[in-house]
Amino acid sequence: MTGGSAAGGMRPVSRYDAIVIGGGHNGLVCAAYLARAGRRTLVLERRPMVGGAAVTEEIFPGFKFSVFSYVVSLLRPEIIRDLDLPAHGLHILPLESTVTPLDTGDYLGSWGDADESRRELVRHSPRDAEAAVIFGRLMHHMAMAVKPILAMVPPDPASMAPSDLRSMLKLGGHMRGLGAERFHALYKLMTMSSADYLDEWYELDALKATKSASGIIGTFLGPRSPGSAYVLLHHYMGEIDGAFRAWGFQKGGTGAISESIAGAARSLGAEIRTDAAVARVLVKDGRATGVALANGDEISAPVVVSGLDPRRTFLELVDRDQLPSDIVAAVEQYKFRGSSGKVNLALSGLPDFTCLRNSDAALRVRAARGAVSISPSVDYLERAYDDAKYGEFSRHPYMDIVIPSMIDPGMAPPGKHVMSVFVQYAPYHLNGGWSDAKREAFGDAVVNTIARYAPNIKSLILGRQVLTPADVERITGLSEGNIFAGELALHQLFFLRPAAHWAKYATPIRGYWQCGAGTHPGGGIMGASGRLAALQIAGPAQRSPGKSR
């Protein structure tokens, strides 16, 4: 292929305008948007399949698992529209209910039908049922208040650049527009612990625990540590686009989401190569010129975008001496510390949860189609955290259990089931480090804890896959196995994600960009980072990459 020598200047002739490193969902979204903007784009994925942490794999013959990320709700609607993802196979099956087994032997349910949920709550606490209505409304407004921020390139508050000042003013105006009550509520969510925040609303311990559980996911905080309330809000964002409950399964597993984005990218002209591990980014005179693959091949392009996390993007793909020392120091201090694990079980039948024994068959089936949350009390979650903060996995962890085969029968052989168990806490930095023995011990702790609520579970297990944060890191490449490519802690959000002055997807190396979840707005299958990065790179408002001051 001939390249424009004039346009290329000193640079070698490139078949590509842009190379995206990493075929995770953000990388794919970024590539799709770049292709959509007319850029000849190449995606390079290390693994044999695209998707990163959103992959479907047949771990045991006939049993398919969403190996890592397993539910979806945060995928930005504008992305679904822009890339016409349904046409490429995006098909979300609603996950309608959550059942929390109580220590009393009873259960606390939250159902797809709002009235049914209210009646269920009244059964436990009429007061909380009242509060839930107002709380739901407030969280809706909170999510709405944050929504524009999710779709916004973070301004640099330390910058005098007109664009940053305009953006800060816009942000200030937005905050002011919320009015005092909602602004204060938002401020509380940004600064409080999820347990304290929920204490102001509810009395039912299991309800507070189940809700605050979403405030600890992917972070190394306990529900009583300030900062966890924000993560709570982060997980509510998905609810604003769905009717009542926007969490759901992708038909065929989360891998099918990645496939749909990949399909959209290809249809827009992007090229995707798997089994193509990138060894390093080629830099000449402070400018990215392409990448070198692990097999030695070199591919040149004037734009290189890393979908990997900040540590790999800044400290591994390029030489530190090509970067200013302040960003190196900032990225070294960026917190990953994966805190969760995953256990995937192939089951010969449905687990029998004792808390549902007195319920009719129909309700038990509905419960099995939803999530089971092992979060009987806030103290339970807090004690699970205590184990982890001193370097052990939780003896009795928080668990979010789903059985995708109940909604999507194709995931398991007839009559059999796949169970996905998200587990917290499992610290990446385990005392003595992770070993095969420790991994199995962790798996046993998980199964034994489930057995307290569903005694027949052990007899049903045909296959067990245990994934520690170390495994997540090894397989997906996410540093320290953090599922959000870096903790969603207040000091790592917005204009500080991944580092002050470098939150606008550019890097100090011209032509080298970042688009992973380690940038604003971060984790969850959201795709916003990939989209915003692509918009920064290709316009509409083309801005020259570089340090914003």
Partner: protein, 524 residues
């Protein structure tokens, strides 16, 4: 008492109350201060806990905002800067960190050359960040509803003032405040003792551990007014722990203020949504159109004011204030200054912490999460008699133990005398394990659990802070969201204690701002 003999009543004769009275008097208002105790001074007043032994709750002078000193024309009493910033128990001996960064670096070098090199810049960085807080704290809290747009956006980093203070520092402040003190210190240092000594400042008087978010802010808050290089200790008043109060009292009197001690307020009289005065416990009524309360928000609004005047949402917000008193103070009268390797007069006059690592500090916090007292509490010591020998008989000394975590609310029943004595004994035992022979030298002991602090100082849940100083309870959120400007929803009623912005450890800060707001409200 003839009606309206006074223009204003100040409830509470601590630093904030006396500063408020001085400010009102200076503005020509006829003001009366009513203090429930027989002696002025609040938490800085000394109590005689054994014959001839008098101790204050805290020997920390805190930070007096320059704007208060200027505005009042207050002549500050002489103060003595600390030589030692903090001393920490470290395998069998004590490691003292001098305030002077160069000397501190020398001490640290014995343990880590890397840390030694990083110390001075780190101390300077903290001082700069605390300086930003100081700027925010000297003005009324921004308020999203009523304030100029600039006030709110200044929080977002747009304020010209902040830019003047340094754009980089501003970003650093926004990043550091929500961090856990453990993360902040782990990013810089490797020496456990150094991290423990510094980190303990991040959990001072709050029910959180060093791994909790926002504890870096708490350290900065308590750094205000500390001499350059000190990360814990502040200067003390040479003439005595209550010297500042005496100065404020003298100034208030000079401006014509009437001061009554032993006068406990029973309720605040409200007529037609406006303050009319106060009624004392004895039944006596004092009338005035302005009342500034330095009692905490709950006592002021839920005890002193008849609920009929209050909006239910406001009452709910006040009930939601996190007081979480978790500090006990144990006063020991000792026959001599306890000695230990590395522990001399200079160390005793400053902060001595017995908690050797951040993990030990975190572990001492854990039981408090489950509404129980620490099995192995975090103990900080100080000997006020080194600064002020006259507080004890000749040659004798007082050792004050600041003990965390001892929550006011316990799952297994309330605090009582038996538990208090047990706590005092176990604390003495713990001190003895680090300072051999300590218990033998103890002549008398007085244990002040959150229960005693609540009863004797009128503090809700025994919280010395009048409400934890955490990120969700500062600025426009203190005492409750939207009331950060000291005026309460009842006309003429203002909050001027440390439960109001800018909070505890800032004597006169809230009193001054409340008085200013009160004066402005009546000037119109």
């Amino acid at each position: 008492m003839s009606p309206a003999a006074f223009d204003a009543i100040v409830i509470g004769g601590g630093p904030n109350g006396l500063v408020a009275a001085a400010a009102l008097g200076k503005a020509g208002r006829r003001v009366i201060v009513v203090e429930r105790a027989e002696v002025l001074g609040g938490q800085s007043r000394t109590i005689e806990f054994a014959p001839g032994f008098r101790a204050p709750l805290t020997a920390d002078a805190g930070w007096i905002p320059p704007s208060v000193v200027r505005g009042l024309g207050l002549s500050l009493p002489p103060s003595t800067p600390p030589d030692v910033s903090v001393t920490v128990a470290h395998d069998g001996h004590f490691l003292a960190l001098p305030c002077d960064p160069a000397r501190a670096a020398e001490v640290i070098r014995k343990y880590s050359t890397r840390d030694a090199g990083r110390w001075a810049p780190f101390a300077a960085r903290l001082a700069r960040l605390a300086g930003f807080l100081g700027e925010i704290y000297q003005r009324p809290a921004p308020d999203v509803d009523t304030t100029a747009f600039a006030d709110l956006t200044s929080l977002l980093g747009l304020g010209r003032k902040f830019r003047a203070l340094g754009r980089e520092g501003m970003t650093d402040l926004l990043r550091v405040m929500p961090m856990s003190i453990q993360d902040l210190l782990d990013d810089e240092f490797e020496c456990d003792a150094l991290k423990a000594a510094t980190g303990a400042g991040g959990v001072h008087n709050i029910r959180q551990g060093p791994r909790s978010g926002g504890t870096s802010f708490v350290l900065l808050h308590h750094l205000l007014g500390a001499p350059a290089g000190s990360i814990r200790a502040r200067a003390w008043w040479s003439d005595g722990p209550d010297a500042l109060c005496s100065a404020a009292e003298a100034l208030a009197r000079r401006h014509g203020a009437t001061i009554r001690t032993g006068a406990e307020v029973a309720r605040i009289i409200v007529k037609d949504d406006a303050v009319a005065g106060v009624a004392l416990a004895g039944g006596e009524e004092i009338s005035a159109p302005l009342v500034i309360s330095t009692a905490d928000p709950s006592r002021t609004l839920l005890e002193f004011v008849d609920p009929v005047w209050l909006d239910p949402d406001l009452m709910a917000a006040v009930r939601a204030i996190k007081y979480r008193g978790c500090t006990s103070v144990v006063l020991y009268a000792v026959d001599r200054l306890p000695a230990a390797p590395g522990l001399g007069a200079a160390e005793w006059s400053s902060v001595v912490t017995l908690t050797p690592t951040l993990e030990a500090l975190e572990r001492s916090y854990d039981p408090a999460k489950y509404r129980a007292a620490s099995v192995d509490p975090h103990i900080e010591l100080n000997a006020p008699t080194v600064r002020w020998p006259s507080l004890a008989p000749d040659g004798k000394h007082i050792v004050t133990a600041h003990v965390q975590y001892t929550p006011y609310h316990l799952d297994d029943g309330a605090w009582n005398d038996r538990r208090a004595q047990a706590l005092g004994a176990s604390v003495a035992g713990a001190i003895g394990r680090t300072i051999p022979g300590f218990a033998d030298g103890v002549l008398h002991m007085r244990v002040l659990t959150p229960r005693e602090l609540a009863m004797e100082w009128g503090l809700t849940e025994g919280a010395l802070t009048q409400g934890e100083i955490t990120l969700d309870q500062i600025l426009f959120m203190r005492p409750v969201p939207g009331l950060g400007r000291h005026a309460l929803p009842i006309d003429g009623l203002f909050l001027g204690g440390s439960g109001a912005h800018p909070g505890p450890g800032i004597p006169g800060g809230a009193g001054w701002l409340a008085a200013r707001a009160a004066i402005a409200s009546r000037a119109k």
